[in-house]
Amino acid sequence: MSQARLLRESTDPPRPRIATPPSKTASPQSDDQADCNWMALHLPALPLQVFERGLQTSLPLAVSERERILACNDAAQRLGVRPGLRDGAARALTETLRIVRRCRQAERSALERLAAYALNFSNLVSLDQGDEQAAALVLEVGRSLRLFGGAHALQHQVLDAAEGLGWQVCCVLAPTPAAALLLARAGMGGLVGTHAAVRQALDGLSPALLVSDPQALDDLTSMGVRTLGALLRLPRAGLAERFGLSLVQRIQRLLGERADPQRPFVPPTRFRAELELPAEVQSTDGLVFACRRLLDELGGFLTARQSAVQRIEWCLSHADSDATRFHLGTARLETDPERWLELLRARLERLSLPRPVRAIALRSDELSPLPLGNAELFEDIAPDPALPAALLDRLRARLGDRAVRGLALAMDHRPERAWCWRSSIVEAAPSNAGSRYIGPDKNGPLTHAERPIWLLPEPLLLEQRDRRPWLDGPLSLGSRCERIETGWWDGFEIARDYYIATAHSGERLWIYREMRGSRRWFLHGFMGLPES
């Protein structure tokens, strides 16, 4: 794998280099894509893009390994940085260059997340275990072609998805996994529909793509074999004798003469993703851009697993202070990354970050199977049941969970305890099936005496004049008195005589008098209109 190939511009999406001739027949099942059963995705710029894709703005960036530049982006190239330079030399060239050390672990986990995403396109995805330097995935797509509308359409969708995630990929469809992989690694793209076309495409390529042993390569060169085409034309028996059976087997797999089972990738049961930021980010826009990459991965992961989540956890790491952690929750099961992004944006607006962010991690543990429902035949009959939940989420994301609450009844005679807030996310979702929560007893409220529509958070002590309660004038008490005396067992004992009083203005008030002690009067609430 030459390093030069790592340098492809990230903005330049890989274009199919093997020009598939505009099919001779109009049918999408024409010969040139008849046998495209395997797709290989090669990520030539993985070491660089692991870092670069989280950045909104392009800054000179290079990845180094063993003190040498391994790959660098366009901005760095314009400053004269080239792969193979020593780190020191590159730093001497320019001060603005950021050099990060290659992180194989990040590459590995990024590739696994991409594999999980690729399960959207095929149920058999395998990570290429072979060459350490070449990050690639192989997908069995023969059974997906029809669903996605043919090989061309599938390829476009895969390329779009990869671009959306910030990856530059070479995508090849071929009759055998080995051929697809080899052509993708050669930096090609497109469809190679038949075995004959595979031979033709392999013809001019370097044998180094197939033979990794340098000694064997030298031998081949000295034999005059300079292209793969020449290698394939050699008699197999002689090749086996000279270079071992494994090379012949590789050739046979390449040409589809030998079975080539792929080990399926099994996606994890939980979602974990990290994104390193080579340059620290403070702005909300920059953070949203980076978080979007992770949310898109989450969206693909969930779609592939047919799952949804209600809660995601973010961890923003800083250089030298504790990480900022927060979570987002929704009232409904959610898969759509756009919805999460909207909530995240609202949350970031009211979040004050102590320092710029160096790395972002996203995790979600509790996956629930996606509920399947029937769509309405006519759109306008019923309002979208998702709308109330969406509003709740948006309000909570900005105002916090405690600011947005529902109400419920409680089984208690004390006015302060006859009701409670409902704040749990799931509980607060409205439902169609009569969600009036009346405690354990469904028979209704405990009392049928009239209750105020407003309750004061704390009873208000009333002035007394002529031994009568006074609020901007004397209060005239109604004839009926309701005695509430209970709660001696739990420390909140009350003993009160409640009256409905009418104020000077005509307003109806709910007041009470203590039955013991100083027998003071308190205002406790405001009544509605009297029942007629």
Binding site: A382, G506, G525
Partner: protein, 274 residues
Amino acid sequence: MPAIGSNPQTPRLEQLLAERADLWRGRSSAAGVGEGVGTGFPELDQLLPWHGWPVSGLTELLTDQPAIGLTLLLPALRCLCPGVEDGDNDHCDQPAQSDGQDLSIICSDGWLLLVNPPYIPYAPALAAKGLDLGRVLVVDAPGQGAWVLEQALRSGGCTAVVGWSTADEPDKQERGWATAILRRLQLVASERSTPAFLLRPMAAAFQSSPAPLRLDVEAAPNGLDVVLRKLRGGRVGLRLRLSGSVGPSPIVSKPKAKRAVDPNAFRRAEVGLR
């Protein structure tokens, strides 16, 4: 000269009035108004061209007694957000006399949003009045009330939105929503069919407001006094005494051209004028 109407080609006046909703009809102003939801007070319904609270657009209730506003709104809210189990409010499930098909839109599921209420909305009383508590959502967002209202109206996830603004609140941001904010809210509200009520102090009465309906509300012995401060295309300055609610009016109607406002309603209302 042939009499008008003898020629079948010449439309009669009644026919025109019945067919053309855009004809100007003087005081009745029933033309071109949207749907309404019954206020629960027949006297008030008769005065309003919507035959109730307007479903689209803001309604401003001005009062210095913050507890009063909800009292006036409760019958309508009960109809918009009915409890399921209670037998006495099943009127919402029955089609109204005139345009029953509108009920499906108006009595749909969604939040009854109370934004910055002055005190605690007391759940036992609301349940006893027939509201579905599971759909009541209380938002405490001092200083962000306008934002919440706008989101709620935009989202389409509410059956009704009630917002309080308090003038004496120390938070200057909240002090009387600026006219620009009200205009914005009115624009959003006029495009949706979510009734939106703003409860504001009397001090806001002299601020210009884009709301098509503004009422002064104050407590009165055994009832409420309501003054029509602003009614787009209608008569203002009338004072109404609303005594205890006579049960919610289930009528949710699109006013028909022929159902002009009863002229006697004004006379009756003027009797109550003090």
